[in-house]
Subunit: 168 residues, 12 copies
């Protein structure tokens, strides 16, 4: 009896519904774009850093960039696993990103670090939004991953905040 | 004061209540049986695969089997940690499993992969049911593990779905 | 449009509110003290164990101590990541801990293990309390970590319970 | 000339004859079932162990289970390499196993270990039978593997025998 | 005397001249953009692959993407080492890339692989152009790196060409 | 007493007799040539593979080639350990090999894999012959090694047979 | 004869005398407390560091803390090996420590580092005192360990001194 | 039916008979003594080597000693696994060894190497004798191990023979 | 504009021209044959070495053989990457090799090493010829690999020359 | 001048004097014998252990044996480094050992462990004696090593003492 | 025919000519001296660094020193491989080095880093000179190595330049 | 009260006194120079070795050089840790070294090895002198390190002595 009931759980019922897939994919798409954008900005500042803290900050941003990059594949595959699609090109990233590019030729170290601090704080906000959407649709696997990413983003924000705190 | 209050948290109150243990153990038992069943079926098809995709699918199913097998000890120990019991024998698995055996002598690769796709989808459903039960009893440690297993099951389903999509 | 809305998410809104930081820091502080206290007690018994199960229990307690110690940095850094502060000294631990020291010269192996069993059970209770507080403030990153620690504490309790069960 | 003679060795002659494949597959099938059965029983006792030797025996049985499990794939693939087939499901295991399940709720540690000692001794006997059958058909590759498994089974039996020897 | 002559080699003379830096940076900039573009397209197809070769091509493209991504930091740092600057943002990539995005919803596996084959062939051409420019300015360190990247690009092209050769 | 008897076991008696060395060396020589020949053919097909299974078969043949190559040193050293000699050059291989070269410009994947399947089956036959000769002279160390190589050759044959089974 | 003399070396004579055990245990107890105290203070400053050298000092103090922590088990086990006892709880540490806690809310980086420099220098002094006591009782195994710890403490002091030297 | 028959295979029947255990243990005992003896002699010559090949031979003998030593535990445990006993002390080795000690103060390198060559050849003979005894009693697990040791002993003999061949 | 120009770089123009592929493949074919030939001769001497430097030279030739063997796959794949073909069989090697086989039964160590010294020197010459041909056709990826192989061949020649220098 | 004085330090003066070499070698010889003797006894008990603590003690003694064995090469090489000689054979060990063999057929676990406890305590005594002799001759390199071995011997004694303390 | 022509390539023709060896050795000698000199200076500043960036710069210079040191053996062996000789002593380095020693007691961090920046820039110049000489003689193996060293030297110069840029 | 007394141990009293720092730094400076000198000479002979033992001695000297080099950083840092300074340049080494350079063009292997034997023996003497000075000032951390270096130097001397003993 229990078995026969169980067997009725069809593929579609086990998986998330159509609307859930739509909503979640829609939430993950700009999130992925923001993560790529933040990765590129972090590397930008990693490459163009200057001054007597050069090595220290150069390494810091490389660690951050590596941590940020590690998220990209997970977000994209998460969208695919639930049956949605994800970003397809540089142009796609560019059109979907909410964080802003910084193409300035000269940026002071202090400006670099404080801008990244703000971007990481914004990213935390976007992660929370995505978490809410996934939670609403009961997509517990995605929320589980996002929780780790929030922890990491908060850690990056902490580090950057403490450094910037008394940088003249 | 705070301390004295804290000290009142007895073993039983810190741990899950009797009913919770009952319900969760009851939910984990057939889940474990299904996982063992799916492991065996995946290995069966891994061993008896044929055709020009032999190596590719042979390896795919081995990866899946390894991932599925890795869950078994965690489910069983989880039941024990909260004070319940778990499966004891091959016969016990056989009586508790909800997924069905496939003892056919000859199964085409397409049939193999689509059947596993369906079984993995069903397993996702069973995992969601177990998640709900644990969440109801506030067993946050078990839900945390199940979230990872859902992610894995959805990934296996994705892979199998894409492959089967145009297999003639 | 979406972007402009998104950009309004300021640092403060993305981050946890002031009250949340207060409550969570307040919850993590005694938790960290308890973890340090339990670490020290576990090592104490690891060092002063005797009897024919000496090596077996000596190793068991070392594994437990190592697992417990690994949590300390995560708790402290978690408090810092959300903008709070954490413990500062041995005296600070001493004043915040809820679990009790055991300075007895002679403790039988059975007493050692059953006391640790109880302490781990209490710790599980404290972890659940902290989980509730964090969940209330939607601090999903902290809850995610606590879920793992509960699983570990329940495992330690299971091991110790089974051993003590028939120790004369 | 030597070459021309050699080239006459056709696929069928190099490989084992039809009867050999039949006999050997027939011998490996229940052997594989017994190994799965013993694996499950060993894990069962690993999970439900109790008492002051809990950790010691819990670890012992885990090592044994791991060693036993490692054999399963080799047996199944060996049957496939010579052109035979092998087990396909939990039900298949259940119908082919010769060792008996133990579904008792409560088993004393002594009973657990002595039952496993006997089962491992029986397994040694089944391995010797299979060795004889393979040797008769000159399947030297299979015999070579079985020799290692006999050595392992005898080692497990030795350990279990010594422990049980004075367990009250 | 030799020493005194040697000491005259000033920083500027040892380093590449202003014009060389300009030319080489100018050549590396779109190259880096193309590499990012190709990385993103390769991942796009890796994520959206379908059909009975799903796993095989999914893995192939992941290997290619990883190899392509590993070049990015080297190109950017090479520009910095000689005193030039490099790309700063997603938008910067988008404006500098010569390879084209492919944002189509549905792409057949054959189309995916043949497009990547062509893009890798184009990349080889761009690498040869950059090699010539660096060689002209005697920047032997950059040419040395490009030689390895050409070898890799030719290998990717070979693989993709052979696969596409008879894909219907 | 026992010792004095034991000491009479001279070097020559402990070692294999002159005739045994002759026979076994004579058997290992063409075996080594066949293994080198099969290695080269497997690499040939690995390098010149084409078609939509390119990567899958390319990798398969590389694994097979690596496994085959690993045998060569063992065969040669085995001949040396018992006091015999072994192959000395490419020409020596060429004159001793029994498996045939395939120098065709164009070979279809199906033809490649089926030819290797047959060659591996022949190799199994040659290995069995060598096993018999060594067994006759009681050279148990060589037979022990050959048993492993037979298992590997049978595995390669199995894989190739399953793939070729429905390749059009 | 030599043997018979040797055998007279009873357990007690080989081991350190009662008074030695007393003195050495008495010396190791506050030493262990100081090491725990210094560990906690170093972590405190590691967690609450701020300013533009945040990452650099954060890492430095983590390395120091790790090195300091690694000593604790060795000191405690050394006391046990010679037959003495050691610390049992947080309260025990608190009562035995000679270095002072620093529970200030706000400590400047310069103050943090210079206080740690002084504490490490004091620790060196305590280590030298313990060395003298062990040397007096000919406990060469303990002195051998202490020599390494002095080297490490002097290295930490060197690093901290050089940094503090011109910190404004 | 099959099962019921199988269950009759009692522990004693699965295991080797009493006589077999006696004979095999009896054969393994002096073998183990010889292996210890040869280990010690090889180390002796490793330590007291001289002359212009010092390093080369010093290393050679260390490799040989390590390989020889690795056998000791396997022989002893093999005796225990089948239910026999094994050597207990240095004196036990001394009384059981068949190879002879060499306590000479001065031994030329040539003498060292040729004596070891002869001892290794003798050991091969002893291994063959033990192999025959085990084979007679159908102890296939022991024979399987001995086959590897014969291969190793023959390799050591080969190396030593080639070196000694023209040593003046 | 720049882009449109760039897009004109067709596959054929990016790749090496037809004549280049012909010339380079033609140059790599005998080179690969020589490398296989030298590998086999080096192993031949490795296996048949004798005399008091046996171990030293045995190891030397094994290192050389391993280094030589590592080149083979790279040469063959390089030919394939640019669109050419490569060797197909033992017979193909035999017909293409320029270095000579040495099938003598007895070769003194001095003769072995001096012959290998000469062969490695010849190989260096062949490598330089191939380098010139590749450089002429601007195949910078192949030249880059050959430069490493020349360095290795010169190192082997150096070692062998120094050893042979005073071998009587 | 300093240099010229320094250069007068001849080999003999830098090295230990003749008498020192004599005394130290004389002290290390029986020490090495005792260590081998204790190694063998520890393995003896490791192999012949019985009872419900079988695995726990079996592992304990294996760890002890491994630690003891690791000392042997160091003692022997230390004697050689200062210009002395060392043990040469099993018989040599037998004649020099001061610790006693135990060849009893049946030894209870308690007797095994307490005898090893005493032997390790005696070994500590012998190590102290050797330390004194080396210290007298200012052989600081040997004393440095012995200090570590004393620490290890005391640790083994501690473990064995605690276990034996309440073993009935 | 091709073969016979090939065989005429004598050792001397394959190797670099006498003049090339002279010129290249002559170029590598002072280069090696400069590298040793720069290594020593980098370590000097690594050891004597001071100030609030102590750890950061201390680590930076250690990484640089390690990278510089890794070149020394390659340069020396390269000279030997082509048949030349190389440096023999500290005095030899001292007489050949072109970079200058800095024996000042007190050097500010800024002065340390800017001096190293200049020295690395000079080293780049010397490397380019050596590259030209080797290129002239067609010593492609040496040029290939130098290209990597130039890249590393430019990287070190970049790091040091950026740091020094605003150091007051 | 104990605490208050303890706190009086000021930095200066815990650290070594001014005179001790002077004496020890003065002793370590030429020691470091000798170690660098011996490193360079060992590499010199490693690079310029010849003859039939080429590879054997080439490797030996490389091992020795690596071991010697590993000491340099420790000596220098040791001087810094106690507050002294150390060597600054190649010229500084040259002026402080007591061992002599050997710039001869041609040195026979025997001369090379015997000269290194003597230099290592001298180094042992210098190490003992330094040990005495450190011991006098109670710098137990430095003596502890020197003891290891003496052991290593004696081992190198032993190896070189044995080889040279009969080199004609």
């Amino acid at each position: 009896m229990k078995e026969s009931t169980a067997m009725k759980v069809s593929r579609s019922s086990a998986a998330l519904g159509h609307e859930a897939v739509e909503d979640i994919s829609e939430a993950l798409r700009p999130l992925l774009a923001d993560v790529f954008c933040l990765y590129m900005k972090t590397k930008n500042f990693h490459w163009h850093m200057r001054g007597n803290h050069f090595r220290d900050y150069h390494l810091l941003l490389d660690e951050h960039a590596e941590q940020i990059f590690a998220i990209t594949d997970d977000i994209a595959e998460r969208a695919r696993k639930i049956g949605g699609t994800t970003l397809r090109s540089i142009g796609d990233i560019s059109r979907s990103q909410r964080l802003k590019d910084n193409d300035d030729e000269t940026v002071t170290p202090k400006k670099m670090l404080s801008e990244l601090r703000d971007d990481n704080a914004h990213l935390t906000g976007f992660l929370r939004e995505a978490h809410e959407i996934c939670a609403k649709h009961n997509d517990v696997a995605t929320t589980s991953l996002i929780e780790v990413w929030i922890d990491q983003a908060e850690r990056r924000t902490w580090f950057l905040s403490e450094i910037v705190s008394d940088l003249q």
